[in-house]
């Protein structure tokens, strides 16, 4: 049996200051520097592909200043656009930030799903499928049933969670009962969900009356989250926030969370201590699924208001990065979700105003994740911590490994 390396999830139930610590102490600064490095590299990429820069590069030796200023312009212009689209611009004030919050809502929910599973020792690649099934149930309740205000939305949420929970719980059940590896199962369940929603969208029950396009009726107004007028930000964000608090509470002060963590770290000891490992696996996966289902709810009852087969986008996969970048802690996931949300919201503006291809945005985004996750590299780049002996390099990594 292999010795288990302790992951750096701040697990010892220390009072909720780990977040604060993360920001104020070393890692926080290093993270900021990491973002800067990634932005510089991304900026270079953007600049290289900029037409004017290429032009001026042609006569670089004649007038290098032109080239350099173009380089600077291309890169900064893009980032300014990104910032304008994600946080603030003079025309709209902080309205873009509301957009960021909107986009990050499902990311946070689904990220929590991945994080919960991870803490219970399960690698949930299946958020995608769980979001889909959650959306399907939530949307169906939302457009097919006509119920009074309040109750309707409540049922939409409940069914969305149930949908995700079923899809996740099924994986947990299969794993617990047959020992099948959850990574295989979740990958396969994703595909099954994708084709299942394709199928549903081809049935009349899920289409608008008289329409043949695979797009559902718009959800009843009683079934959707109220939103802030003039923006897309909806109450789903509050739901996400509550879920973060709930999960955070669960891990810190609930018996369920205790069981998950125990099983995640050492299933043998957990079993010896009377914890039902199989049950824990099933519940953890169901809960992970429910959280991903909440992302589905945020999509159908919040942002999109309709169901289509593309409802999950690439949320399920982004959720993995969000969760791991957030070190599988609830608040970490929350902030990672915001970061990703900002990127997605900003990217749109960047594409429109500067013509930067959208693919570049995912490149920059990936670079940022890599650099945030690799403080030693960033430190090496900035020549920090040369002298100070690394006491325990493990502590500085994002080893949220579930082993």
């Amino acid at each position: 049996m292999s010795e288990k390396k302790s992951p750096v999830i701040p697990d010892s139930g220390k009072p909720g200051n780990d977040l604060l610590k993360q920001i104020t102490q070393g890692p926080g600064l290093v993270s900021v520097l990491g973002v800067i490095v990634a932005l510089v590299i991304g900026g270079l990429l953007i600049a290289i592909t900029d037409e004017k820069v290429a032009e001026t590069a042609g006569y670089f030796f004649a007038r290098p200043a032109d080239f350099l200023s173009e380089l600077w312009r291309a890169a900064t212009e893009s980032y300014v656009a990104l910032f304008n689209g994600a946080i603030y611009n003079s025309a709209q004030g902080f309205k873009p930030f509301l957009e960021t919050l909107t986009v990050s809502t499902p990311l946070i929910c689904a990220g929590l799903g991945v994080a919960v599973a991870f803490r219970a020792g399960l690698f949930n690649i299946g958020a995608q499928g769980q979001i889909i099934i959650g959306s399907v149930l939530a949307a169906y309740v939302g457009f097919a049933w006509h119920l009074p205000l309040g109750l309707h939305l409540l049922l939409v949420i409940v069914f969305g969670l149930i949908g995700g929970a079923i899809w996740g719980g099924l994986v947990g059940l299969l794993k617990a009962k047959t020992g099948a590896h959850e990574v295989i199962l979740t990958i396969m369940f994703n595909y099954v969900a994708v084709y299942f929603i394709d199928f549903l969208m081809n049935t009349q029950a899920f289409r608008r009356p008289g329409e043949t396009n695979p797009i559902s009726p718009i959800l009843d107004s009683t079934a959707v989250f109220p939103s802030i007028p003039g923006s897309r930000l909806h109450l789903g964000f509050v739901m996400a926030l509550l879920l973060v608090i709930l999960v955070s509470w669960m891990f810190k002060r609930s018996t369920v969370g205790f069981e998950f963590r125990a099983v995640g770290h050492n299933p043998d000891a957990a079993q010896t201590a009377g914890i039902n490992v199989a049950r824990s696996t099933i519940i953890a996966m169901a809960m992970a699924g429910a959280l991903a289902g909440a992302a589905g709810v945020a999509q159908v009852a919040g942002t999109e208001k309709v169901l289509t087969s593309g409802i999950a986008g690439s949320l399920g996969f982004d959720a993995i990065t969000v969760a791991l970048l957030g070190r599988s802690t609830p608040w970490g996931t929350f902030f990672a979700g915001l970061l990703f949300g900002a990127f997605q919201a900003g990217a749109v503006n960047m594409q429109i105003t500067t013509g930067t291809p959208i693919d570049i945005v995912s490149v920059v985004q990936s670079l940022i994740v890599l650099f945030i996750a690799a403080p030693p590299l960033v430190k090496a780049i900035f020549g920090m911590n040369r002298k100070k002996k690394k006491r325990s390099p493990k502590l500085e990594t994002t080893q949220a490994g579930a082993k």
């Binding site: 049996m1 010795e3 288990k4 302790s6 992951p7 999830i9 697990d11 010892s12 139930g13 220390k14 810190k252 002060r253 609930s254 018996t255 369920v256 205790f258 963590r261 125990a262 770290h265 050492n266 043998d268 000891a269 957990a270 079993q271 010896t272 201590a273 009377g274 914890i275 039902n276 002996k389 006491r391």
Partner: protein, 533 residues
């Protein structure tokens, strides 16, 4: 080969695990390092083996300074090490493990294990090992695994052999055999650095004993020193080595195990119709060579092991078929054999580990919420009560030394009202000072009237604690004898001889039976340390 360490220091951050250590190991000498848990012995050896770079100091071999950038260099220089935690790849065969890093190959890098097998057989023959080169390591008993480790060093022609707590997990027989092997090696000119907490064997085998405390060499003494002297030197205070427990006053038979049978999924019967009782206020020790069903017995009672037949009744209540949680709730305290695998979630804080099986019960848990204050208070009390050495109850359990980890498990299990207390290897890896304490706690539990079941491979511990002794052999109870039964009789019974015959045989052979383990009377409580893997 002669080995000299000069002024070795090793710092982890600002903490010095070794401070200015000088050590001289002569050619063909068995040099013993003695010290409490965390004294810095393993660290020193890891420096010597090239695993750690010394912060200061130098290593000399036959008078020439050497520098090791990794274990490869140390091996090349003729140093071999058998680690405290075995460095074997569990899923490999013996031959593969031994070949690893020093492979013989045919053309094109194709492994030629035939050569390795031959070498294994040669060495096995020379030292009387019984090792199958094609066995998978994880299927082997620890004693054999250890031999594999030794063969590994010998195949590489080590002139200096480091043995870090090699006897911690061995049975008495295996220990004797190992000591014999060490003597043979010495006779063949190998120098040995030997680390052990068991004073009896240290005295039996070593030429020189160096005592280390808090990373510093305290003294070098001769093996003639008494165990009390050694213990006091190690711990730095006077240690009481005798338990002197009062005689038991057994009450009713509260635990009734009847015809308990376990067949594992490979189809082997690991427990065969085991029947015994434990009375209130009595300690029953289960003795036996490892692998004779002890683990299955405790796990079957707890419920982590599926039972094929039979019953376990605690105060009339049937335990078989209950979930682990229900069994624990019935009032069973359980200290598992391997604390780091089954007893603790080492990533959890000490606080959390102290409620690992109590987290959902009052006062710690109510419904699905937990009361963190109660958990904190509990931790403070238990840490004080059991003298767990830590500066913060929020530190992860992995930061504790082995002995302190064991205390955490014991504290947790003894902290509630018990109807039955089961402890496997209760003092494995615990330092001398703490053993007496833990033993006293066990006896105190007995004196409260709780039936206690102790499973130990350490005969000394068995004899120290037991009111009655049940000997397990090949999954059967080979006899239940009084607590004062002699070592010889127990030894024979553990080898499968029935109680009556054993008593007779022991009578006959008493005079020739003076092996190393025959410690003088009154000195039998000093060798309980062990190391869980």
């Amino acid at each position: 080969m002669k080995l000299e360490l000069r002024g070795i220091s090793k710092a982890f951050g600002s903490f010095y695990a070794n401070k200015n250590i000088d050590l001289l190991v002569d050619d063909a000498q068995i040099h013993c390092l003695l010290g409490e848990n965390g004294a810095g012995k393993s660290t020193l050896m890891n420096v010597l083996y090239g695993l750690y770079q010394p912060t200061e100091g130098e290593i000399l071999l036959d008078g020439n300074p050497v520098e090791f950038s990794g274990p490869g260099d140390a091996m090349a220089a003729g140093i071999g090490m058998v680690h405290q935690h075995f460095m074997l790849v569990p899923v490999f065969t013996v031959a593969e493990n031994i070949a690893l890093g020093a492979e013989t190959t045919k053309a094109g890098g194709v492994l030629d294990l035939q050569v390795t097998r031959k070498k294994i057989r040669e060495i096995s023959d020379r030292y009387g090992f019984d090792v199958d080169p094609d066995a998978i390591v994880e299927d082997l008993p620890v004693g054999v695994q250890q031999r594999v480790e030794i063969i590994k060093a010998l195949v590489r022609e080590a002139k200096i052999l480091i043995l870090d707590e090699p006897t911690a997990v061995l049975t008495p027989q295996e220990t004797d055999e190992l000591l014999e092997i060490m003597r043979q090696l010495k006779a063949n000119g190998t120098s040995i650095v030997f680390i052990s907490h068991k004073l009896r064997e240290v005295r039996a085998v070593s030429d020189v004993i160096t005592v280390i405390r808090r990373g510093e060499v305290i003294d070098s003494v001769s093996p003639e020193s008494s165990t009390t002297e050694l213990a006091n030197l190690m711990v730095g205070r006077a240690v009481e080595l005798n338990l002197n427990k009062a005689p038991a006053t057994p009450g009713e038979a509260v635990l009734q195990v009847k015809d308990l049978t376990v067949v594992d999924h490979a189809g082997t019967t690991t427990l065969n119709s085991v029947t015994f009782d434990i009375h209130e206020g009595e300690i029953l020790a289960v003795a036996g060579v490892q692998g004779n069903g002890q683990t299955e017995l405790t796990e079957a009672i707890l419920g982590t092991q599926a039972v094929t037949g039979g019953s376990v009744k605690l105060a009339g209540e049937e335990l078989v078929g209950k979930s682990v949680k229900q069994v624990l709730r019935t009032g069973v305290g359980f200290v598992p054999e391997d604390r780091s695998v089954h007893g603790l979630v080492t990533e959890f804080s000490i606080e959390e580990n102290l409620v690992l099986d109590l987290y959902d019960r009052a006062p710690f848990g109510k419904g699905i919420s937990m009361n963190l204050d109660a958990i904190k208070k509990n931790a403070a009390a238990q840490i004080k009560d059991f003298d767990v050495r830590t500066d913060n109850a929020l530190n992860p359990a992995s930061s504790l030394s082995g002995g302190n980890q064991q205390k955490v498990v014991m504290a947790r299990e003894l902290s509630r009202e018990l109807k039955l207390f089961i402890a496997s290897q209760p003092t494995r890896g615990v330092d001398v000072g703490s053993i007496e304490f833990l033993h006293r706690r066990i006896v105190a539990e007995r004196d409260k009237g709780t039936p206690v079941m102790i499973v130990s491979t350490e005969l000394d511990e068995v004899m120290e604690l037991a009111d009655r002794i049940a000997v397990l052999y090949k999954g059967r109870i080979n006899g239940i004898v009084p607590g004062d039964t002699s070592r010889e009789v127990l030894g024979l019974m553990m080898a499968g001889v029935s109680a009556e015959e054993a008593a007779e045989q022991a009578e006959f052979t008493k005079s020739d039976n003076e092996p190393v383990e025959a410690a003088p009377a009154g000195e039998h409580s000093e060798n309980q340390e062990g190391e869980g893997q």
